[in-house]
Symmetry: C2
Subunit: 184 residues, 2 copies
């Protein structure tokens, strides 16, 4: 490691400053650095972990959703996704959300990784998946607050949407780009 001190920090105190569990918790932490310095107000935020998936139908189209997202403040294109229920396995959550939001099931799933949203503040972990061969088996019924329109894109249409700025949410860009890299 060439003399670099890459050791973890230590958490010396952690005060829960805002508690709206399970939707949101915010802590103020006092942390100790490897060089002996101390930081008194490092903020840690926790919102629910989620699963998101790039899903190809049996005829090779990607399933996207067009709906209003309040974090973006506009109607935008996203991928199917949803929060993990308490103790839920991420892949099971992905399958459940795909069925609820799009009425599809897929026989072929693989992980594209689990990622922390905030390198400093944590926020949550997103579990990203790629699925292939999806077929519609039910009517969508997500129970989400947003009305949603399903759209089906070719690989080229998805690439174009990425380049044109139609994908506005980071996890959607990550999932789509990772899926397109895997399916060259």
């Amino acid at each position: 490691m060439g003399g670099k001190r890459l050791a973890p920090w230590t958490v010396e105190a952690s005060d829960l400053e805002l508690d709206a569990h399970p939707r949101l918790r915010v802590w103020r932490q006092r942390v100790g650095l490897p060089d002996g310095r101390q930081v008194d107000d490092f903020w840690r935020i926790e919102v629910p972990d989620y699963a998101m998936m790039a899903v190809f139908t049996a005829d090779g189209r990607l399933i996207l959703e067009r709906h209003y997202r309040h974090g973006v403040g506009q109607v935008t294109l996203t991928l199917p996704a949803g929060g993990l229920e308490a103790g839920e396995d991420p892949l099971e959550a992905a399958k459940r959300e795909l069925l609820e939001e799009t009425g599809h099931r897929a026989p072929d799933w693989r992980s594209l990784g689990g990622y922390v949203l905030g390198a400093n503040g944590h926020f949550c972990q997103g579990h990203l998946f790629l699925a292939k061969g999806a077929v519609q088996v039910a009517t969508p019924n997500s129970g989400d607050l947003e009305e949603t329109e399903l759209v089906y894109f070719t690989r080229q249409e998805a690439l174009t949407a990425l380049k044109n700025g139609e994908i506005t949410v980071l996890s959607c860009a990550a999932t789509l780009a990772l899926a397109l890299l895997e399916t060259d």
Copy 2:
């Protein structure tokens, strides 16, 4: 739109519940949905926007960083990145952070898009870039809290790190995957 009501929500009230500006602000919003329903406690979080970049050196290697990230809780591989200063242009911030963190300048920059981190809660916007032809012109001096080790990866090594779970932060996975898609 097939009868779907994709209209934006309206914010009917917004209470600042936690104020640690400029590092963190948390609002509780009362929002009105297009179908007339009202949600009394929709949480909006704001932390600083940032720039992140996948940078190829003049000899075709990607510049990565290995350091402890407290949001992840471990030493991990990331890309150069940093918060935008007040009013700062994202591309200028990317160039400044690249120089500070790695001592490199690059002649060729393009945007990989700007993305909201939280589709529900907002959090912040990440501005992602691809740069090529970088050369070292100075000694790194980031002023960051973390000791950092620079590492230089071939395209194949970066793909392997992505697949092996060595990339643990969502924005790094997004930036790397988008950059690798662009440079097939």
